[in-house]
């Protein structure tokens, strides 16, 4: 920090001031260091310094068997562990040309949608906290607690759940699973209204988010931004509709779309996504088909040599797995397409011309998790 401070001359001086945000900073959602080139208060450019949380997941994958690598996948985007697990399991099932049984598919969909709500709740709480609203964080954590209880009852873990197995599920849904999910969904409708009352109409919230961090549709696609960031810029595209996986083709739900791609639209899109996920869960628990929960997958997996790429709609964006197998029990190469890493790239284009306080809001609206950025 000292060397940067020395560069700046006087507060009156014309040349830029390099302000250092992070890596230990209350609002960078983890170990992210952003070097802001400031002209007075205006941001002229940003440079992200990442890698503090790099654990070399892809190198580890090459020395583990397919089943052994599954728990590592949860540690990447630790806020949405279940969807990481779903992506990996479905990718390996595609590699093995095996299909999970319908009952497993439906339970997987319910769990993933619950995880999407939990991930959006964490985003909403921390994003509001960065912009100064202290209360939403605790409301969101209170709801998320309900979801984590359901996960704990199902697979024993709350955060890094490792809930799914290649080929289907390990555990049968515990007997009051449907009742818990239904109770949560019924109650969640009223809870979302609480957040809407607190934030949506609030003029200070609108003042802080309207026209902040604008990203046009072309920029989104060019920069590869995906998920709520892409939809808020007006692109009506969701992988769950475009290339349905698990049991998403059996349920009808809308895709929320924003208009001018600013922080406020991303907020509205994610709030609407939470409502849609709730509807999916309600439709799903009506008829969970009976039947086996694990497909015909042997103890030792030896997928024939070849490669596949499979991607799902994770809460943060497109989460893709490119797996190359050389016929042995260990994958030859596992490449994970991290949505947060690629969305973070858009920070520089969004932050230019804004004030320092806006950079904090923009990092919040990108909803990045450093475990996934650094892998």
């Amino acid at each position: 920090m000292q060397d940067d401070a020395a560069q700046n001359q006087t507060l009156l001086g014309a040349d830029e001031l390099v302000l250092n945000m992070g890596p230990q900073h209350p609002s960078t959602h983890g170990v992210l260091r952003v070097k802001l080139k400031l002209d007075g208060e205006r941001v002229r450019g940003t440079e992200c310094v990442i890698g503090y949380l790099h654990r070399g997941v892809e190198k580890i994958a090459e020395n583990r068997s397919y089943q052994q690598f599954a728990p590592y996948v949860d540690r990447m985007d630790y806020v949405a562990a279940v969807s990481n697990g779903l992506g990996y399991c479905e990718a390996v099932e595609k590699l093995l040309n095996v299909e999970a049984p319908p009952r497993a598919k439906v339970i997987r969909t319910i769990m993933t949608e619950l995880q999407r709500i939990a991930s959006h709740l964490v985003w909403l709480g921390t994003h509001a906290l960065d912009i100064g609203a202290l209360t939403p964080l605790f409301y969101c954590l209170r709801e998320r607690e309900e979801i984590l209880k359901i996960f704990e009852k199902y697979c024993g873990a709350r955060l890094t759940t490792h809930a799914f197995r290649i080929g289907g599920l390990q555990y049968e849904a515990y007997d009051s699973f449907e009742k818990d999910v239904e109770r949560f969904c019924k109650d969640f409708e009223r809870r979302i209204q609480e957040y809407v009352d607190l934030l949506t109409g609030n003029s200070i919230w609108i003042g802080r988010t309207r026209n902040v961090g604008v990203l046009s549709a072309e920029d989104c696609i060019a920069l590869g931004a995906s998920g709520p960031v892409l939809r808020a810029s007006g692109v009506k595209w969701d992988l769950r509709k475009a290339q349905p996986y698990a049991a998403y083709d059996q349920y009808n739900f809308q895709i929320p779309v924003g208009t001018n791609g600013d922080t406020y639209d991303r907020y509205m899109v994610r709030m609407e996504e939470m409502r849609q996920s709730r509807l999916i869960c309600l439709q799903a628990i009506e008829n969970i088909p009976a039947g086996p929960i694990l497909g015909k997958v042997g103890k030792v997996l030896k997928p024939p040599a070849g490669e596949i790429y499979h991607s799902i709609e994770a809460p943060k964006g497109i989460l893709g797995y490119y797996i190359v197998s050389d016929g042995t029990t260990q994958p030859y190469r596992v490449r994970i397409r991290p949505p947060s890493f690629i969305n973070l790239q858009a920070l520089d284009k969004m932050a230019r011309g804004h004030l320092v306080a806006d950079v904090v809001a923009i990092i919040g609206t990108l909803d990045i998790v450093l475990g996934e950025v650094d892998r």
């Binding site: 001359q9 006087t10 507060l11 009156l12």
Partner: protein, 172 residues
């Protein structure tokens, strides 16, 4: 008895911090000492039953002008100017001149000390009880006898404000 104690306390503080203000190398220190001087003189105004001037001094001088000074000192990074020499060469000449002036006024004050009526043929001070309530009297006088100077002062302030804004604006 109480008056004497109060006066000597405030006068002592005022002179001491004024002296310190002039001799400090660091501008912020001299600003702080100037603030103490102004507060001490405000105390003396209070002792002279001039409440409105006391509060005007605190709000305008200390709360307004000195905040401006401290603001500018912070903006104008002073570590550049600090290690340049602070005192000009003709320091001794200045001291000589002021000492001569001081001696002259001192002698004049001292020699008139034992003339009746404090030497200035002044009436004795009006007893405190009969003084009109300060703010009302001041307001009354300000807005009828001195209305024109009041308007001129407001114009002066306006001119000063506009001048300062134009002066300090960044040449964009």
């Amino acid at each position: 008895m109480l008056d004497k104690v109060i006066f000597f306390f405030f006068a002592g503080v005022a002179i001491l911090s004024a002296g310190l203000m002039v001799t400090r190398r660091n501008a912020i220190h001299s600003a702080v000492f100037l603030i103490t001087t102004l507060l001490a003189t405000a105390g003396i105004f209070l002792q002279l039953r001039a409440e409105f001037i006391f509060i005007a001094q605190i709000i305008l001088y200390v709360g307004g002008i000195m905040v401006l000074f401290v603001f500018v000192i912070m903006l104008v990074r002073l570590d550049v100017a600090l290690h340049q020499i602070q005192f000009s060469r003709q320091k001794w000449v200045a001291l000589l001149v002021t000492l001569a002036l001081a001696a002259e006024v001192g002698v004049m004050l001292w020699s008139s000390r034992n003339v009746p009526g404090q030497g200035f043929l002044l009436p004795n001070a009006v007893p405190a009880g009969k003084l009109p309530p300060n703010t009302e009297a001041l307001a009354g006088r300000l807005f009828d006898a001195y209305l024109l100077p009041f308007e001129i002062a407001s114009v002066l302030l306006l001119v000063a404000m506009v001048g300062a804004v134009v002066m300090a604006k960044k040449r964009t």
